[in-house]
């Protein structure tokens, strides 16, 4: 029998704890696939952040470190500076990367830290049960914005790729999504490139993946994909925000 | 020797910390127990600055000199602040070109050295501190008595230790300042 599709070797057999319809699973696969295709799983070290993906250390076969909330890119900096030959990536949600960890994110980026950042933006806090995220949309109803996100009081969403693309240390900032096959393929290439950049010593590379959270959005998986398309894509346009061909390292 | 506790005091920028360091190094070269403790913080940038130097045959307890045997003082606020803390019988060395006040206490050996004008006149701008160090060693550290621990040669070695190679050109100016102080 011919194998036409299989799980990447860089994923363990542990059953994932993610909710049905959550797109973490797809992104995990794309990350694992990149590690496998580039042949770097044996020298990769992933940094799990706090949030729904906190236990991703059980899902990737490479060495893993679990970081304090928001500190993934500081931990990644330590890992990379200690062993520059290793391939270091962080896997972070919107609360971790763009709220409590904003300083760590901005400064890892501005240093041009030669790491790969996978950023899951699903516009909500999943792990704690659906509170407002820094990326929740204006008017979005969450547990802590029961009347909708009021921008007068709660302010506006953080547009991470737009913000980081202003920094000289960033080699790659690209926003993708995984709502259909075409976009999954674009995301796959972007994630692989973010790792390839690190291998090439180009500097800080971030891929923002617009994701769904059916459970906390209160929608079915199919409806959630629709909500993402109707609400998130207009606010967070997909695309390459920055791509420095020669990298940012002199 | 008896335990020698020296307090160098003046404005930030007058070189009180460096003066203390040279004295401390002389102690080190003579195999004495020594400590050097600066005041630090905002006062380093223009306010009053001081530094405590302890030199002894025994391990140094508190490195903070609260009752000096010797006070080397380079500005009036420091003289006013510390003059009453000097041990009876102690020595006070004063830059009398900057401090016009006379010491009222009669139980102290006071030396008035117009070090800042001497420095100016001899092309040794900024080395008023080392003129006072010259006086300090001439009167106390290298002079026969309870507190003698050093010789003029040791002081010169200490100076060489304290001046970094990139400033080697300053060595002779410092030597000149020290000898001016010794003669003052």
């Amino acid at each position: 029998m011919q194998t036409v599709f299989q799980k990447p070797s860089a994923l363990t057999d542990a059953p994932m704890h993610y909710c049905p319809g959550c797109t973490h699973g797809i992104v995990h696969r794309l990350v694992a696939q990149a590690l496998e295709e580039l042949g770097v799983e044996g020298r990769a070290v992933g940094v799990a952040s706090v949030g729904c993906s906190v236990m991703c250390y059980d899902y990737f076969t490479c060495d893993m470190v679990q970081a304090p909330h928001g500190r993934a890119q500081a931990v990644a900096t330590g890992l990379k500076r200690a062993k520059p030959e290793n391939i270091i990536f962080t896997y972070q949600g919107d609360g971790d990367l763009a709220a409590i960890g904003t300083a760590e994110t901005v400064h890892a980026a501005t240093r041009g830290e030669n790491i790969t950042v996978i950023f899951i933006n699903n516009a909500i806090y999943g792990m704690t049960g659906g509170q407002m995220a820094p990326t929740s949309l204006p008017g979005q109803i969450t547990q802590t914005t029961p009347y909708g996100r009021d921008t007068n009081s709660a302010g506006y969403p953080v547009k991470v790729c737009e913000m980081l693309s202003t920094l000289d240390g960033v080699a790659l900032a690209q926003r993708v999504t995984v709502n259909n096959v075409k976009n999954v393929n674009i995301a796959r290439k972007a994630i692989k490139k973010a790792f390839q950049n690190q291998l090439d010593g180009k500097g800080y590379s971030i891929v923002e993946v617009l994701s769904t959270c059916p459970t906390n959005w209160g929608l079915s998986p199919i409806e959630a994909l629709g909500w993402l398309e109707e609400n998130m894509l207009p606010y967070y346009p997909l695309g390459v925000y920055k791509d420095v061909e020669g990298g940012v390292k002199k | 020797m008896k335990d020698l506790n020296i307090l160098f005091a003046g404005f930030g920028g007058q070189g009180v910390l460096f003066a203390g360091k040279v004295a401390a190094y002389a102690g080190l070269i003579e195999n004495k127990e020594i400590s050097w403790l600066p005041s630090y913080g905002p006062e380093m940038r223009g306010g009053t600055a001081n530094c405590s130097v302890c030199i002894s045959d025994n391990p140094i307890g508190s490195p903070l000199v609260t009752n000096p045997n010797v006070l080397v003082v380079m500005n009036l606020p420091s003289l006013d602040k510390f003059i009453d803390t000097v041990e009876p019988g102690g020595t006070v060395i004063i830059d009398s070109a900057l401090i016009h006040k006379k010491v009222e206490r009669t139980d102290l050996n006071v030396h008035y050295v117009p070090s800042s004008s001497l420095a100016e006149e001899n092309g040794l701008k900024g080395l008023s501190n080392m003129i006072l160090v010259g006086k300090l060693f001439h009167e106390v550290c290298a002079a026969p008595g309870d507190y003698q621990f050093s010789t003029p040669e040791t002081l010169d070695q200490a100076l060489q230790k304290c001046i970094p190679p990139r400033k080697a050109g300053m060595l002779d100016f410092n030597r000149k300042a020290i000898s001016l102080g010794a003669q003052a």
Partner: protein, 348 residues
């Protein structure tokens, strides 16, 4: 020949000679010379000096570097150590070695910048949340700062936990003669738990402090506490000075022990049987030395640059069998030998 070095710089050079090549810091008075020294030396020896965006980031960079298996350190002063508390707790929970240096200043809040010992409770009881301890070493001279740095790294590696050197502004800023150890030769042994890439040769390592199953978490904490018991048995350190026949036993560490020693010497000259017990390890607390000295003492006098923090551990160590008195200054004030002597006289 010995060299004259500032405490802060001596700590840095000693760390380099103990094989540390990864320093992550953030400026704060009165420890900044340490970071500045590292920024000068590390690039010349192929090491990492990184000025982080905050103390929080710095300690988490240490976490990352330590997780990769190298010797890593950070340094700060009191307010900055509060920020590092999070990372210290995570490192304790992940069984990671690291060196953290606290050159204490007065608090609370921004407090002051003068020497203080007001972080004793923080260091020994609560650097961060959760059930854990860190090793705490308290030098009292610049030479001892040098000596304790390599010990701290070794103990941290041996017991897989963070170690702190609890110094203060006086020790950090003062210069004393030091003899520096030879440069450490080979790098420390490979750490088989490190997340440094498995190279296909072993199952993946996970450095983690999250255990959602309570019985698993309890088991791990208990395992850690069993290790702490070993440490209490084997690693207590104190200096006992004229303590074996002392009627008044003064207990002080770090800078205040220098003041206390001066007072004890003066008391002896006056014919008073005074002695000093100087804890070198604050955790584990040197209960054995305390009990030896307390067994024949009439009174104990604890001297601290705080409102009285270590005094609790002294009372606990001797089970309150002898009266324990206190002499202290706070806010950056340093007690004088005369002040301590006066209390010794009153208690003799």
């Amino acid at each position: 020949m010995k060299v004259l070095m500032k405490g802060n710089e001596a700590l840095a050079e000693a760390a380099i000679r103990a094989g540390c090549r990864h320093f992550f810091g953030y400026p704060i008075t009165p420890q900044t010379e340490l970071a500045a020294y590292m920024s000068k030396r590390m690039p010349k020896i192929g090491g990492t000096y990184l000025q982080a965006e905050s103390e929080i980031a710095a300690v988490n960079m240490v976490l990352g570097a330590s997780a990769a298996g190298v010797r890593a350190m950070t340094s700060s002063s009191s307010p900055g150590i509060s920020l590092k508390g999070e990372g210290i707790s995570y490192m304790a929970g992940s069984d990671l070695p690291a060196l953290i240096i606290n050159v204490q200043r007065g608090g609370p809040g921004l407090g002051g910048i003068q020497p203080s010992q007001a972080d004793y409770w923080q260091a020994t009881k609560a650097t961060g949340h959760g059930d854990f301890q860190i090793l705490v070493l308290a030098p009292s001279t610049v030479q001892e700062m040098v000596d304790l740095v390599s010990d701290a790294f070794d103990l941290a590696d041996q017991y897989r936990m963070p170690a702190m050197i609890l110094a203060d502004g006086m020790l950090g800023q003062m210069m004393e003669p030091v003899s520096l150890p030879e440069e450490a030769g080979a790098a420390p042994a490979q750490k088989d738990w490190a997340a440094c890439g498995h190279g296909g040769k072993r199952p993946h390592n996970i450095v983690n402090s999250l255990y959602l199953t309570p019985d698993k978490l309890e088991e791990l904490v208990k395992e850690r506490f069993a290790r702490y018991e070993q440490i209490k048995q084997h690693e207590q350190r104190a200096e006992e000075y004229l303590a074996d026949d002392a009627d008044v036993v003064v207990v002080a560490y770090g800078a205040s022990s220098r003041v206390a020693r001066g007072a004890v010497n003066k008391a002896r000259e006056m014919g008073i049987k005074a002695g000093l017990v100087r804890p070198i390890t604050l955790w584990p607390f040197p209960a054995d030395a305390l009990n030896r000295a307390a067994s024949h003492a009439k009174n104990l006098l604890v001297v601290e640059m705080s409102m009285g923090q270590m005094i609790d551990d002294v009372k606990l160590a001797i089970n309150c069998q002898k009266p324990v008195h206190f002499c202290g200054r706070t806010g950056g004030m340093i007690p004088t030998p005369a002040q301590v002597l006066e209390q010794i006289q009153a208690l003799a």
